[in-house]
């Protein structure tokens, strides 16, 4: 049996361990881009500093779609890690129900509750039968339009301040040989429809579709605008121009090769690492510059139930890590690098970049539930399949798209 954490811990013990009994805690996550990696390193550093234990980093390639299966199958397969990141939402709900995740209630009580969470709705997916099984550690939003200052300088136009201006500038951009919309292959496109939905369709539409699963709303005029915008968007995207990863799109934006991109706020981390300065090298438009609410999901940490016979020190290390993740210090260090919003605002965020400041301002209006957050992974996968197909196959009309979207939402649970 390879309980990595345990074995490693025992090995250290046998060697007559150096410091006061340091144990290894394996942490899985899929933060592999430059900005993300720098952010998780902040947690690792705090954890090792404050507890003296070792953070065994298991980064998994392929983001949610590639890494989730590995994480889930390891937990189901009886080979759990010490802690793991997953999206805040329903991906792990069955794992919680099956009793595979550690109930964090005692730890939370020790900390005096979770009232400091800026939006209590974030905690909903973590709750099950009165227990709390995960800790959201940040708020992520897909709802950002990133635009390149350099590209607009090149064509001599002002940098757009909202989606409509941005769309209007496409012909000029194309004439100048600049790609209006940059895109990475794979999952990044799957977030775009949701952003258009909240930006163009508005809060009511998001709630009706993601929360209430209303197929009527999908067939309505508001969603149609979204589908048409998507149709418009796919006309300026060609497969040959796609790059391998979203971080590459960030570089293209800084270089002015690409005029804009819709992507989640974690792109900010990569832009920062690449030396970009918000407001100078790029502009960020939350909710496409149109709305005043962000759809939010984010990342949570889960602590799987470790098998019997696990060194109690490892179990203690889980608890210690849990506390560090949501402590003011952990929140500040991590989110400043990650480019996401912290789950608590009782900390000094003056160091946050202008994009994050905008987002924090919008948090006061409440979060809208994102697709990640409100839909099961099965439904998300279906929508992703649909979006991937729509992007690539022009023979699928807007009507087809709306109808198929509606039928997926209809059967969603």
């Amino acid at each position: 049996m390879k309980k990595f954490a345990v074995v490693a811990a025992m090995a250290t013990a046998f060697l007559g361990s150096t410091s006061a009994y340091a144990v290894d805690l394996e942490v899985t996550h899929w933060w592999t881009s430059a900005g993300e990696a720098a952010a998780i390193a902040e947690f690792a550093e705090l954890f090792e500093e404050q507890t003296g234990n070792n953070w065994v980093d298991s980064a998994l390639a392929g983001s949610g779609t590639g890494a989730n299966p590995v994480i889930i199958s390891r937990i189901i397969g009886g080979d759990p890690m010490g802690a793991t990141q997953m999206n805040t939402g329903r991906d792990a709900e069955e794992l919680i129900q099956a009793g595979l995740m550690r109930d964090l209630t005692p730890i939370v009580e020790e900390m005096g509750g979770l009232d400091f969470y800026v939006d209590q709705s974030l905690l909903e997916p973590c709750m099950y039968e009165g227990g709390i099984y995960c800790l959201p550690i940040n708020i992520h939003s897909w709802d950002w339009l990133w635009v390149s200052t350099a590209a607009y300088e090149e064509i001599g136009q002002p940098v757009p301040t909202n989606w409509d201006e941005y769309v209007a500038s496409w012909p000029a951009l194309q004439e100048a040989g600049i790609l209006p919309f940059g895109l990475a292959t794979g999952w990044p496109f799957s977030g775009v429809p949701g952003v258009l939905m909240s930006g163009l369709g508005g809060s009511d539409l998001v709630l009706a579709i993601n929360r209430d699963k209303s197929a009527e709303a999908v067939r309505g005029p508001e969603f149609r605008k979204v589908a048409e915008a998507l149709d418009n968007l796919r006309s300026v995207i060609s497969p040959e121009m796609m790059v391998p990863s979203f971080g590459d799109v960030g570089n293209q934006i800084l270089a002015g090769e690409v005029a804009g991109n819709i992507h989640g706020d974690w792109l900010a981390g990569d832009l920062q690492v690449a030396g970009g300065v918000a407001g100078e090298d790029y502009e960020c438009l939350p909710a496409l510059g149109l709305g005043d609410q962000l759809t939010g999901g984010g990342d949570s940490f889960y602590f799987p139930v470790l098998p019997e016979g696990t060194d109690p020190a490892v179990i203690q290390a889980q608890a210690d890590l849990a506390k560090i993740l949501i402590s003011p210090e952990g929140q500040l260090n991590f989110n400043l690098v990650k480019g996401s919003m912290p789950i608590r605002t009782d900390i000094d965020l003056s160091a946050a970049n202008p994009c994050m400041q905008k987002a924090i301002g919008m948090l006061e209006n409440g979060l809208l539930p994102s697709g990640d957050f409100a839909l099961s992974s099965d439904t998300q996968q279906q929508l992703q399949d649909l979006n991937t197909e729509f992007l690539d196959d022009d023979s699928i009309t807007v009507d087809d798209y709306v109808e198929r979207y509606a039928s997926i939402i209809e059967s969603a649970d």
Binding site: T65, G66, N68, P69, I72, S73, I76, D91, E93, E94, L95, A98, T185, G186, P239, E240, S376, S377, D378, Q380, Q381, Q382, D385, L386, T388, E389, L391, D392, D393, R404, S407, S411
Partner: protein
């Protein structure tokens, strides 16, 4: 299937001199113990797991296999899903092309190799080496060759052939041909080896007789040799066919299903829904359809191979 093997072994050691059934039974205990792994594999994996999969494909199991029985709902959804239908269609198209070309080129090359050519061994070594490589390696090499900007297309354009186009990997209508080129590269040599063995199994007398009768070579191949190679041909079809149904690694490495969903295949759908999307019922239903496909290939073969023999004897 290798009947010779069965007969020679009969009665060799299992009865000893004492011949009672019960003694025989006891006598074979070590053999039975030794065969336990095989029995376990057959009973637990090949039979047990298959039945389990078919059974649970009728449930609404999500992340964990614990759902309720829901009849054919997973299958209804499966065939109402564009990605699955595209996957099936891709597999049928790719499979038909792959089967025809693998057999065709395999046979052609085997015939050519059988013409008393020089360097036969060198030719064979070159044709078969891709078969030693994994589909991942195969997919990645061809992904690089087919890279639109820096691969073959880019090279030809840089060399002055401006209109040269070889962007199949990025072209939804052509991407299956991209897969085919890589798949053939890997598999044709193997088919050639099988066919060559079959050709060399044909009696020299047949050729002599055909020559005496003045039958042209190509006609001898078509009307005499090919029918005589039925066994090898059927084997090749079954092998290539069951390999095609499993097609997975190559797609993952070469296109990962893209552009869009235009090179998706069933095995990938199964994997995604089982492990990625946390919908085991859906994944198992798709797996069951793959099983059904294999049965459709296998049952006629088994009938030809075994049923046919039964009639003859």
């Amino acid at each position: 299937m290798a009947d010779t093997a069965v007969d020679t072994g009969r009665g060799a050691g299992n009865t000893g001199r004492r011949g009672f059934l019960r003694k025989t039974f006891l006598h074979n205990v070590p053999a039975k113990i030794a065969a336990l792994p095989m029995m376990a594999t057959v009973l637990v994996v090949f039979i047990g797991c298959t039945i389990w999969t078919v059974y649970y494909s009728f449930t609404n199991s999500r992340l964990l296999p614990s759902g309720d029985f829901i009849g054919f709902e997973q299958y209804e959804r499966l065939f109402g899903t564009s990605r699955w239908n595209v996957s099936v269609w891709n597999l049928v198209t790719y499979g038909a092309m792959s089967l025809v070309f693998t057999l065709g080129f395999g046979f052609l090359l085997a015939v050519l190799m059988d013409q008393k050519i020089r360097f036969e061994s060198a030719f064979r070594t070159i044709m078969l080496y891709p078969f030693a490589l994994s589909f991942i390696v195969t997919g990645l090499v061809w992904q690089w060759i087919m890279n639109p900007t820096l691969g073959l297309q880019g090279t030809m354009r840089n060399l002055g052939w401006e209109s040269f186009t070889f962007d199949w990997i990025a072209n939804p209508r052509m991407v299956l041909f991209a897969l085919l080129i890589a798949g053939l590269w890997q598999g044709v040599g193997f088919c050639m080896v099988l066919m060559l063995a079959g050709l060399r199994g044909v009696d020299e007398e047949i050729w002599k007789a055909a020559r005496v009768d003045g039958i042209p070579t190509w006609r001898t191949y078509i009307s005499v040799v090919i029918p005589m190679m039925r066994g090898v041909l059927v084997t090749a079809v079954v092998l290539i066919g069951s390999g095609i149904v499993r097609l997975y690694d190559l797609v993952v490495a070469l296109t990962n299903g893209g552009p869009g969903i235009s090179s998706e295949v069933p095995a990938k759908y199964v994997y995604n829904y089982m492990f990625g999307a946390g919908n085991i019922g859906q994944g198992l239903a798709a797996a069951t359809m793959m099983l059904l496909t294999v049965l459709i290939i296998m049952v006629p073969w088994a009938y030809l191979e075994f049923g046919g023999k039964g009639r003859r004897s």
